[in-house]
Symmetry: C2
Subunit: 110 residues, 2 copies
């Protein structure tokens, strides 16, 4: 197959997986970090900072836009990207509560 069986999981589980995808490739992590630090927010600047082809960077930006965690503003002839605060805080809450459901003190099963 090679295709995820989305329908057998909950909305929440699928959304967590999607949000995690934003961070599941080092290039996307780097892009998000650059957007946050503002060392770059124009596509061309990102291409200069990363050692990746323009088409590849554009593809990663598209994926981040699909997830909703970034948002691009056309500023001809450039496109300025920035973090979408709404989805970013969704990610904070989502990962925060997921990671907090496990208490370190709990012992392993056995």
């Amino acid at each position: 197959m090679g295709v995820t069986k989305t329908e057998i999981f909950t909305e929440q589980q699928n959304r967590i997986a999607d949000l995690a995808k934003a961070f599941s490739h080092p290039a996307r992590v780097a892009i998000l970090q650059l957007l946050i630090s503002r060392k770059a927010c124009v596509c061309g600047d990102l291409v200069d900072e990363l050692e990746l082809a323009q088409a590849t960077v554009s593809q990663h930006l598209k994926e981040l836009k699909r997830i909703g965690i970034i948002h691009g503003e056309i500023n001809p002839p450039r496109v300025c990207y920035c973090i979408n605060p709404v989805v970013w805080s969704e990610a904070q809450k989502t990962f925060g509560s997921l990671l907090d459901t496990f208490a370190i003190t709990e012992s392993c099963c056995n």
Copy 2:
């Protein structure tokens, strides 16, 4: 190509991406949630809870083990899985600080 250029990114970025991979598939999210809630920690029980074949569940468990976020204990004839507290707290810290680097109040670039 189809292969990630790991060498052009920092250790930290690659590790974040790897940790995120643990959560980037709904089946793995479901497995981690089941391990936490203890509704199941034996492979067979996970197979019963999820609508996935045994081989598929085993494959996801292998990936989670590779990342280090879970840990399996052989308890013949079963194998009992549990969260690895060390790596779990690493994930807490990692995502916590990454997600906190962006302050909601910051305005978008333009």
